[in-house]
Amino acid sequence: MEHLAYVAFGIYTLIILTGGLMAVLCRSMVRALVGLILTLFGVAGCYLLMAAPFIALMQILIYVGAVSILILFAIMLTRAPAGAEEAPYIFPWRSLAALAVAFLPLAVIGGMIRSGQVAPLVPPEEVPLAELGQTLIEPYLLAFELISVILTVAMAGAVILGFERRIGK
């Protein structure tokens, strides 16, 4: 059945790359966002492949469900005024720079693979969700409680930023 995992990996990689290209190449912001969402779905698939279904589902719930909506609202908030056109497609320099940046991680990872030992592919073992919850509550209690503090601070920050904008108007 391992072949199926390879097929799945290929499909997920294709989804990620297609979405990424869409996000970079589309001139319409909303279409680029759709590409980003596609990429996030592909990443969720990769989590599934790494035997982390909980993380995969949370990826869909949080990134696909909430973060992308947040970005969509950001686009709609800052939308160019009616009649304005999107920036024209500029080929030469920006595309080259983008390509260079895209190949940088490839070079780093390739160098690491060439120089170091690569771990053999073994079917990953799934950590049960119950174990995850127990680990969060027992050994990592302080970090866990700090998460709630971070979320509270984020809420307060959103309120302050949102209101400052309105007062300044």
Binding site: A51, A66, M76, G133, F144, L151, T152, A154, A156, V159
Partner: protein
């Protein structure tokens, strides 16, 4: 209700995924078949009314490229934050019987801190939609 303990259900390393792939293919084939039949058999008549954005709905006026008000964004941020909170509560809820009262109190503290944040945005008017209720 018993929690699902068979972790292989969603794993592509196990044969269980075959039925999922088959199911997905069948769904895609079914949708394609429906669309094809509708396209092939169906009669197409163009009319002004049909080409409206909302057929038989509210007649749109002006451009759709308007700026949305900030409260939409605020609601989206709060939704995101409580979404993340829900994830952690979910991880705790799976084992809350094993963790006992200690785990319960720890989670209560977690939620109380977040309730403080909720109270803050409530008092500050982050949940109000109308401009008149905004703080000065």
């Amino acid at each position: 209700m018993e929690p699902i303990t068979d972790g292989a259900m969603l794993s592509p390393w196990e044969p269980g995924v075959f039925s999922l792939v088959l199911f997905g293919l069948l769904v895609l084939a079914f949708i394609g078949f429906q669309l094809f039949i509708a396209h092939w058999v169906g009669e197409r008549k163009e009319s002004r009314e049909k080409s409206r954005v909302y057929e038989s709905g509210v007649i749109p006026t002006g451009t759709a490229r308007l700026q949305f008000p900030v409260p939409f964004y605020m609601v989206a941020i709060f939704f995101l934050l409580f979404d993340v909170e829900g994830v952690f509560i979910f991880a705790w809820a799976v084992v809350f019987r094993d963790l006992g009262w200690t785990g319960w109190f720890q989670m209560v503290f977690f939620i109380i801190v977040l309730l403080v944040g909720l109270a803050y945005i409530w008092v500050k008017g982050g949940l109000d939609w109308r401009e008149s209720h905004r703080p000065k």
